[in-house]
């Protein structure tokens, strides 16, 4: 893993592994947040603190409320009740996403939102906040914003190189593959200079090699001082990069802790089995493997049984992808009306 840790990143020892545990330096604090869809309590979080400079994984079965929770935190949806403190400052219950983004909270979407008919480089340049040329009158006079535009472009090009997307620079974003779009969305969000980056399933549909480089980017961001929350279904990934894991089920936070502690947590295993009683579980199985390895990240030896299980896990994920589409259609309605 990385050697150039950010000095602000504290170890996880001594932090209580219980739902709603307090952290020494939370960037985000959530209190009694409830989102009700008719009779369904999609989100019902009593208390949650997200430690600054950590990578926090948010996991949970399909329909647990992770995306809804993200929507609430980022202003794309309004909670029925609940309070959020960001950087120690209380946010109003109803706040627009753009305001939160300008305060340093940026997100990506489970269903990637690439700006299809804009070139990749324009997608990137859009991310920068407070551009002079984004106001109506200055926009008319190029000399007023040209210099800033050039420096933005330079930065965007550097990021594209870092994300190995520079060869697609001038293509329309709509021509990118699904995985490339994930990369673009993440790179674009970094153009906003965020403090808190919230990634909704950044690795879904991304091939293993690309996933690896994506994960390196994520840890790289942490080392630069950013805080990351990401939703993830693959426990390998969670083990590899997360400092802390928050588990959601049926809208509630049911567990918190280090990745190792979470894989041994009975309540978590139950939550997953409860919703997946008929299929073998990636999570449970991978957990076992990791325990056998004494907590080493799984770069495991070839193993017939394990490969089999991977197949199962894969099928499972494809089902997941179906669910998402339906869910997100809902979410969008919720967010725009």
């Amino acid at each position: 893993m990385t050697t150039t840790d950010h000095p602000g990143r504290i170890p996880t020892d001594g932090i209580e592994a219980v739902p709603g545990s307090s952290k020494p330096d939370p960037i985000l604090e959530v209190d009694t947040m409830v989102r009700q869809f008719g009779g369904l309590r999609a989100v019902d979080v009593e208390h949650l603190e997200i430690q600054r400079h950590w990578i926090t994984a948010l996991i949970g079965p399909n329909g647990a409320g992770k995306t809804t929770f993200f929507n609430l935190l980022t202003g794309f949806d309004t909670p029925n009740e609940g309070a959020v403190e960001f950087n120690g400052e209380a946010m109003p219950r109803r706040i627009s996403p753009n305001k939160l983004a300008r305060q340093g909270m940026v997100r990506t979407f489970q269903l990637t939102k690439s700006l299809t008919r804009l070139p990749v480089i324009e997608n990137m340049k859009l991310g920068v906040k407070e551009q002079r040329g984004e106001r109506f009158l200055p926009a008319l006079i190029k000399p007023l914003w040209n210099e800033q535009e050039e420096s933005i472009e330079e930065r965007a090009d550097k990021l594209l190189v870092r994300f190995k997307m520079d060869h697609m620079r001038d293509e329309f974003a709509g021509t990118l593959s699904g995985g490339q779009r994930k990369l673009l969305e993440m790179a674009r969000s970094l153009m906003t200079d965020p403090e808190l980056v919230m990634l909704d399933e950044p690795t879904a549909g991304v091939n293993p090699a690309l996933t690896q480089s994506l994960l390196q980017h994520v840890t790289g961001l942490r080392d630069e001082g950013m805080t990351i929350i990401f939703v993830e279904h693959d426990m390998d990934v969670v083990h590899e990069i997360a400092d802390w894991v928050v588990v959601m089920a049926e809208g509630k936070i049911i567990a918190e802790g280090t990745p190792d502690a979470i894989s041994k947590n009975e309540a978590v295993v139950d939550a997953y089995l409860g919703s997946h009683h008929d299929s073998d579980l990636t999570f449970d199985d991978e957990g076992d493997v990791i325990r056998g390895d004494e907590g080493q990240p799984v770069h495991d030896e070839p193993d017939v049984v394990h490969d089999d299980e991977r197949e199962v896990a894969h099928d499972d994920e494809r089902d997941v992808a179906h669910d998402h589409r339906a869910d997100d259609a809902h979410n969008e309605d919720g967010a725009t009306t």
């Binding site: 996403p97 753009n98 324009e122 984004e134 008319l140 190029k142 153009m191 009306t337």
Partner: protein, 331 residues
């Protein structure tokens, strides 16, 4: 068949003040739909409110022409705010419904009997444009032009003013759309939530776009009313909006020069259909019974409609559009 007449009329239609008016209004619609993705089905509402703004402020309140023009354009700003405030936070379809309804409400209000003293009822307002023709450098009784393509002085004046404005607003939109401001509009067109997640106040940008495009619609309405020296409510009826859409789509949505090209092409095609039909009837190629009376008028629109259907089938992106780019949206 007299092809000289056919082509002369087509050219006259292509450069006519109506074509200039449609071009300006289509530039506005292009800002709305082509760059921001706003569905405005009531562009004619912006045209009429500005035209009436000019007419009423001159005839009722004796405003000087320049002030009347400003008032007319401010009326369009006001209409944009009125339509935008309640709808721009909602999904795109709401704006579509509200704009088409508003354009009819405006027309019916101005032509209502109760307001006859103020807005002239169904006769509209006449004789307010004299102040504008004071600046006419041409002699109204002389025909200007090249060869047999000639127009009288007042026409020449309004045509030149109209097309100058059409080119100027096109350049204005070009300046805006190459800027970061234009980039935000396009990002909203592509995905509003993505723009908001990146800190852009999508609502406010959509409002700016609605105002800008609406004011351009208003400008078109002013040129039309001044050119006709009259504002008549029924000139500003819903088909105008759809002709403007046609011109825009003909040229290619979201392209800088397509409104001008589309407006010229639309009027030329209409004139060609009309004149070819006329000449063919006179020459006995088409039976007179087919084109008699109102039928002739309907048939020319049927021909234009057929042409448009063929265009959509073979070149759905319009003349200037990029088919690959357009197909991306469906991926």
């Amino acid at each position: 068949m007299d092809w000289e007449v056919i082509f002369r009329n087509a050219i006259l239609a292509g450069i006519s003040r109506e074509a200039a008016v449609y071009a300006i209004a289509a530039v506005g619609l292009n800002v709305h739909f082509g760059y921001t993705g706003l569905l405005n089905f009531g562009q004619v509402g912006f045209m009429s409110i500005s035209a009436y703004g000019v007419g009423i402020s001159i005839t009722q309140y004796g405003a000087p022409v320049w002030l009347a023009f400003i008032i007319g354009l401010l009326a369009a700003v006001f209409l944009a705010l009125l339509l935008g405030v309640p709808t721009l936070r909602l999904r795109a379809d709401y704006l579509a419904i509200v704009t088409i309804a508003a354009s009819e409400i405006i027309r019916l209000t101005f032509r209502s009997v109760a307001l006859t003293d103020w807005s002239g009822g169904s006769n509209g307002i006449n004789g307010f444009a004299d102040g504008f023709y004071v600046w006419n450098p041409f002699d109204p009784s002389v025909a200007y032009g090249f060869g047999s393509v000639k127009v009288f002085g007042n026409q020449a004046y309004i045509i030149i003013v109209g097309w100058t404005l059409a080119v100027l607003v096109t350049l204005l939109v070009w300046l805006l759309m190459r800027s970061p401001w234009g980039r935000v509009l396009k990002s909203i067109r592509e995905d509003e939530d993505a723009a908001r997640a990146l800190g852009k106040n999508a609502y406010w940008y959509k409002m700016q776009s609605l105002i800008l495009g609406g004011v351009l619609g208003g400008l078109a309405g002013i040129v039309l009313s001044v050119g006709q020296s009259t504002v008549q409510p029924d000139v500003y009826s819903p088909p105008v909006t759809f002709f403007i859409w046609t011109a825009l789509i003909l040229g290619g949505v979201g392209r800088i020069w397509s409104p001008i090209f589309g407006a010229v092409a639309f009027w030329m095609i209409l004139s060609l259909a009309n004149n070819v039909l006329d000449q063919a009837t006179q020459a006995g190629i088409v039976p007179a019974a087919v084109t008699a009376g109102v039928r002739g008028g309907s048939i020319r629109f049927m021909i234009v409609g057929l042409g448009l259907m063929l265009l959509m089938a073979f070149r759905p992106q319009g003349v200037f559009g990029d088919r690959n780019e357009m197909m991306l949206a469906d991926r």
